[in-house]
């Protein structure tokens, strides 16, 4: 028991490396938030665009979502960081990682929103249009509020899954939480830092998971 504590919870090591770990944690938080803030609205925008049914555009959208749902995130991050400079686009490691993850999230989010749009009964469209609401207004005031409600559970699952992909940023040397803590682990031959890292990941994602659970409940049945 004593050995376990010394091995996984070495407090002197914790305090020594705390500033580095904290910095890594903040970078992870920042990247996760940016990924969600870019990926989900982009996915929604794509789903809405697809709804207007412009043939060539829809082919492009479908290619986009199929491609980015299939390709491994790791490959995408590496490409964004090492290949884009050949096209004159040099990205910071953090930017490259967030861009890659946000694009993947947008592809999944588009599919989720699209399924949600199709799940709303056709009669809702007809009811809205029959009162003189335009296509866009019907979409905005009648369809999308229902779509968002349906989409929240699968969307949060996906957002959490992909946000955890921020750890892949280590391949392009992003000093995010897992990168920092696993470096410390190999430098001092003690996994305490990793333990702290894991606790911090929980600290980041547990409230998020709880919050979305609350959202699901709050949105599921208005006052009933």
């Amino acid at each position: 028991m004593d050995q376990i504590v010394r091995y996984f919870f070495d407090f002197s090591l914790m305090s020594a490396f705390w500033p580095d770990i904290l910095r890594g944690f903040l970078i992870t938080v920042e990247m996760s938030i940016l990924t969600v803030l870019i990926g989900i609205p982009l996915g929604l925008a794509l789903a809405i665009l697809r709804l207007y049914g412009i043939r060539p555009l829809n082919w492009l959208i479908i290619f986009y979502i199929d491609f980015f749902r299939s390709i491994p995130q790791l490959v995408l991050i590496v490409l964004a960081y090492f290949a884009l400079p050949y096209f004159g686009l040099v990205l910071e490691p953090i930017t490259a990682t967030v861009l890659a993850l946000a694009i993947v999230l947008s592809a999944f989010a588009e599919e989720i929103f699209w399924a949600g749009i199709n799940a709303v009964a056709k009669g809702q469209w007809e009811a809205g249009r029959s009162t003189g609401l335009s296509f866009t207004k019907t979409l905005a005031y009648i369809i999308l509020p229902q779509v968002v409600r349906i989409s929240i559970p699968p969307l949060t699952n996906r957002a959490i899954g992909i946000s955890k992909g921020t750890t892949l940023g280590s391949v392009v040397a992003v000093p995010e939480l897992l990168n920092v803590t696993s470096s410390i682990q190999s430098n001092v031959a003690n996994p305490t830092a990793l333990t702290v890292g894991a606790l911090l990941f929980l600290l980041l994602f547990l409230p998020f998971v709880r919050f979305t659970r609350w959202l699901e409940r709050a949105y599921a049945h208005p006052r009933s």
């Binding site: 009669g123 007809e126 009811a127 029959s130 009162t131 003189g132 609401l133 509020p145 009933s224």
Partner: protein
């Protein structure tokens, strides 16, 4: 072509006029040339077996279905023209659906006031005041803050009627408004429809409620295989039908 309404010598101002309406779904011709005129304040009830094209005919009037051929006019204005402002036109045509289709995320008040705000452009207060009035007309003022899931089917459909009436349309279309309801809830909806007629609203009703057709209709239209087989007073069509086809239908409808 059409027999004149027996109630009035001079036909009232025409609100809806349908000429040569045809509609095909793929190779299936659902409407095979329908002509119908509906006068101001008139209640026309369309009856016929399922598949006879009643609902499709109704849905062509506000172009939820796109007619394949023919002309439809609303108060002299063309509905079927290529450059019609559909959204503007639909404000003048209220519709009540078999499936009701209330917006589940909005209260009764929200359902009725939405188009008043976003189509007519009223302020929130003005729209809600008007919506409350129309909920009162259908006897649901006390349910203004209830969500559709908290209302019975009959109450939901009455909100559906209020939602359409709130825009003060020139004509109300009822597409089998009671077909999805439990039998004991049908009466309250029919009562609201009777009141709607008494307020002078022009109505076109597709229904299987023969008693409603007999008691309330100014004119009954019998559709068969995508065309109007006969039209006339309820007496002429439902009580003393001339066609064997209609006699069979009436017999079966009485159960």
């Amino acid at each position: 072509m059409t027999s004149t309404p027996a109630t009035t010598a001079v036909p009232p101002e025409t609100i809806v006029s349908i000429e040569g309406l045809r509609k095909s779904f793929g190779n299936v011709e659902v409407l095979r040339g329908v002509d119908l005129k509906v006068g101001k304040g008139e209640a026309v009830v369309i009856v016929g077996s399922s598949g006879s094209g009643k609902s499709t005919c109704l849905r062509c009037i506000n172009r939820l279905e796109e007619p394949t051929a023919g002309t439809i006019r609303l108060g002299g204005q063309e509905v079927t023209g290529p450059k019609v402002d559909l959204d503007r036109l639909r404000r003048g045509i209220g519709m009540v659906f078999q499936g009701i289709h209330l917006y589940p995320h909005k209260t009764a008040l929200g359902n009725v006031s939405l188009a008043l705000r976003k189509v007519v452009g009223l302020s929130k207060e003005a729209a809600e005041q008007k919506a409350r009035h129309h909920l009162e007309v259908v006897g649901l003022a006390h349910k203004a803050d209830a969500y559709p899931a908290e209302l019975s089917g009959g109450q939901q459909q009455r909100v559906g009627i209020a939602r359409a009436m709130a825009l003060e349309p020139q004509v109300m279309l009822f597409d089998e408004p009671t077909s999805a309801l439990d039998p004991e809830l049908v009466g309250e909806v029919l009562n609201v429809m009777v009141r709607t007629k008494e307020m002078g609203m022009t109505m076109i009703v597709v229904t299987h409620e023969m008693k409603f057709a007999r008691d309330v209709a100014d004119r009954v239209v019998f559709m068969d295989h995508g065309a109007i087989l006969a039209e006339g007073t309820p007496q002429e069509i439902l009580i003393n039908p001339q066609h064997q086809r209609i006699r069979d239908f009436v017999m079966r409808s009485h159960g």
